[in-house]
Symmetry: C2
Subunit: 511 residues, 2 copies
């Protein structure tokens, strides 16, 4: 290998582009394997599927740590013409490729492969354990994933006196640390606990009062709503799975799932609006940059901001229900919404100490996340072992939410994440709530008609605004920079808490 | 590279085994991409999907022509301990790996990749062209696939004075040639045309008289039948697609499809029994040999023999309907079968000159295949071009079946195969019919209770017999050797025609 003179940086960049696009293609195939496992795959095929997944994970990793990648990155890094404008497409791509490369070369391929294989198997055992409320079935798999994840954190390392958890979270939220999150989460928790104390029990019951409805009718209904928000079904699907999620193979193939729970008849609406927020983001990324950082989403928190914005800021607003309630009959779910708008809004925002994160209201939701964040830190840091998780979980729920799970199924087995070794992911949900509130405030400021548009069922202006400000830039800026550019303010929990407190007071009165 | 002394053949064999198993794993992922495209994928994603498919096709090809494969094969070939018993697992695998390697090294990777990409795109255009009855939409894609396939045939070459078509057919039916098929097909065609002349119009109408039935009820019914035949739904699925097929990723994940056509209410039953025959074969291969020839199906004709056996020899037999008709009410399709058994059997075996292969009766079916075989020979041999296909198709149908298609949708656009560049495949269907009759005759001889078992809904003895004689040996023997071992006779059209003629006379009387 010779220097830039013999190997012009333009050629090196073009080769990197093709190389990473091929890797993205392979990742999209791996994403189909994962989607299929959740939605369709026969249960008996899980062991075999784990080998398919591990094979692609190893290939993707090998491609990333290929020695030519490091050499070409070095050539490009020293070419001022490419990197002069830090917001230029090439500079954005090079920065992120370098980051991915630097992380990947620290991980042995055997660890990457083992994590892919173990988590594919663990996911299936988690589902079984949850179904049978039997933590013991999952515990050995969790212990294995934990050991592998601790190894991974050790390999990645944490500069500047951080803790092991930081190294894993950095994969989801670049630069975020446990210490920084604590400064955001602790005051937020206090404010939220005050709101919970004030509004818990403000209604005798919530949305579950609206008796069950035919699943087929509900499925048509949520599909109609998702399409109305702007999700393009010509370039996507909506299916069902145990845990709703959104998977993207390409902007032309974005697949979300929902689920139908008889005890919570409106959950499919909110989970579909949530996943549609993810889907609209993925369908709205710049197609010409597909497979590169410039055409990718910023971070998991920014992704979550889009789902939360549609689910909570839009979906739980009085304006939205002003549109939806009169439309419900035409949408085949009239029986579900034969109540005044005010009653529907009150039910959609009912505050209650609860056990299940994905069914939690907007006020308690972040407390569920803070519980998981604390437990993750302890698990990855070595202060908590897999077997002790149920007890620690119950203690955290008593402390933070004032409730205790009666069993593991509604306790530490409720979420899929740790069964996929996605340690470090949960805080992105809470950060997503914070960013969502900041973005929505900015949208309200810049679009005076926003509320009346929503009350009229016109969602296109909001979708277009989000597309222009948040989706189309791809990874041009990091999450916090994007936040400052769009909202004029740094990341803060203040807009979220202020808006929420105001909404609750508007609905339930000062208490 | 040194000789066997420095690199023991045991090690070389183990490395080949691991290498080919990894390739099989990758092929199974490619199969999921193809399955998903037919069953679920959003239409807009086809271009993108073609790139995913081409990427894996290229990888699989690269792995096959890897220079280490040839070197290791050479080492093993000269080790008498491995190859002494030609029916031993190692010898079987080495023989087939060598065959695959010898074929693959003749093909440039660019051609393999282009064929994968073009056929993925062409498949989508074929579906559109068929839907709109517009051959012009498909013609340029067919022309492209034809050019690539002629290139492929030229690269593969045809020893011993064969014709280009032989080189492609060899990929489906090793050793089969157009010349050989002609000696089987021409006398078969004459015998079948005699039967068609005798029995065409023996009924005013066939199965379509049994008015339409609720699709959901029909779907449950065919699922029940498939399970009863022996298809294991814990290790498989049944979905719907435009063209029924069976896809196997692994013995634990076998997926078949059916379709519901209002004009042919019983078609889903026969297409499901057909695909279940494929599925039962795939689920019945020896799991410990998965990913190797020893654990793979013999050839496309043998695969087809299993689907035909269940669809026609079982599914159109009087005994089967003796079981099914009284059961129909309990299976939720009583309205469809409120007729005497004899009437159902007569309808299921009605002989009619028809346009559509997949709806054809047992008597005309092979004539549909012979039409396609002649057209393929001409297309690949350069005697026929894509644009001239509709006219040539109509002429063949007039000559062979005495009917002419009114449009392309019911003519040359009806089948998916050529849109996947699967030239050389069709004859396997006819050979499958012949093998099926031979196997079934052998089963009848060896199992005196077979007919009464079927009339009692007991299919397990037949499934177990097929599993032992046909499925478990994998590729230990080639198709014709397997046929001789199981039936005591060489491949012949005689048992098929004799059984068919006897059945028709039994049902409709001598005419």
């Amino acid at each position: 290998m010779t220097g830039a003179g013999a190997f012009p940086s333009g050629k090196a960049y073009a080769e990197l582009l093709e190389h990473f696009r091929q890797s993205a293609l392979l990742r999209s195939t791996a994403a189909l394997l994962a989607w299929d496992q959740e939605v369709l795959m026969p249960a008996a095929a899980v062991t075999y599927r784990s080998r398919q997944v591990a094979q692609l994970a190893a290939m993707i990793h090998h491609r990333l740590v290929d020695s030519t990648v490091g050499e070409r990155l070095a050539i490009c890094r020293h070419d001022h013409a490419i990197t002069a404008d830090p917001d230029g497409d090439e500079a954005v791509n090079l920065r992120q490729w370098q980051r991915a490369y630097d992380r990947a070369v620290r991980l042995p391929v055997s660890l990457v492969e083992q994590l892919a294989k173990s988590s594919t198997v663990a996911k299936a055992h988690w589902a079984e354990a949850k179904r049978h409320d039997d933590f013991g079935r999952f515990a050995p798999h969790l212990a294995e994933l934990l050991a592998l994840s601790r190894d991974k954190a050790a390999c990645l390392g944490t500069p500047d006196g951080g803790e092991p958890w930081d190294a894993l979270a950095d994969g989801f939220e670049p630069g975020m640390t446990a210490a920084r999150l604590t400064t955001i989460f602790e005051p937020l928790a206090l404010r939220l606990q005050t709101l919970v104390d004030r509004y818990d029990g403000c209604l005798d019951d919530g949305l579950e009062r609206f008796g069950a409805i035919d699943t087929a009718a509900m499925a048509r209904f949520v599909r109609t709503v998702a399409a109305r928000l702007g999700f393009d079904f010509k370039r996507g699907r909506l299916d069902t799975s145990a845990h709703p999620f959104c998977s993207t193979f390409n902007g032309d193939d974005v697949r979300m799932t929902t689920r139908f729970v008889s005890s919570h008849p409106l959950e499919p609406l909110f989970s579909t609006m949530h996943e549609a927020g993810h889907g609209i983001y993925n369908q709205g990324l710049p197609a010409e940059h597909w497979g590169t950082p410039r055409g990718s989403s910023v971070s998991y928190a920014i992704h979550e901001s889009q789902s939360r914005l549609w689910e909570n800021l839009v979906g739980r607003s009085p304006a939205f229900w002003q549109w939806l309630v009169p439309e419900a009959g035409r949408m085949g779910v009239g029986a579900l919404m034969a109540r005044p708008v005010s009653e529907m809004v009150a039910a959609a925002n009912a505050v209650r100490r609860s056990l299940i994160r994905v069914e939690a209201d907007e006020t308690t939701y972040n407390l569920h996340i803070i519980v998981r964040f604390e437990l993750e830190r302890a698990l990855i840091g070595g202060d908590l072992e897999a077997d002790d998780l149920p007890a620690a979980w119950a203690q955290q729920y008593r402390d933070r939410l004032g409730v205790a799970p009666p069993d593991a199924a509604t306790g530490c087995l409720q979420d899929i994440h740790w069964s996929q070794a996605a340690f470090g992911y949960f805080p992105s949900y809470a950060l997503g709530n914070l960013y969502a509130a900041q973005f929505y405030l900015a949208a309200q400021t810049q679009m005076p008609d926003l509320e009346s548009d929503i009350a009229g069922g016109r969602f296109e202006p909001l979708r277009a605004w989000l597309n222009e400000t948040v989706h189309m830039p791809g990874m041009t800026w990091d999450a916090e920079t994007l936040c400052r550019r769009v909202t004029g303010r740094p990341l803060s929990a203040e807009p979220f808490v202020t808006c929420l407190a105001a909404k609750l007071e508007q609905i339930y009165g000062a208490r």
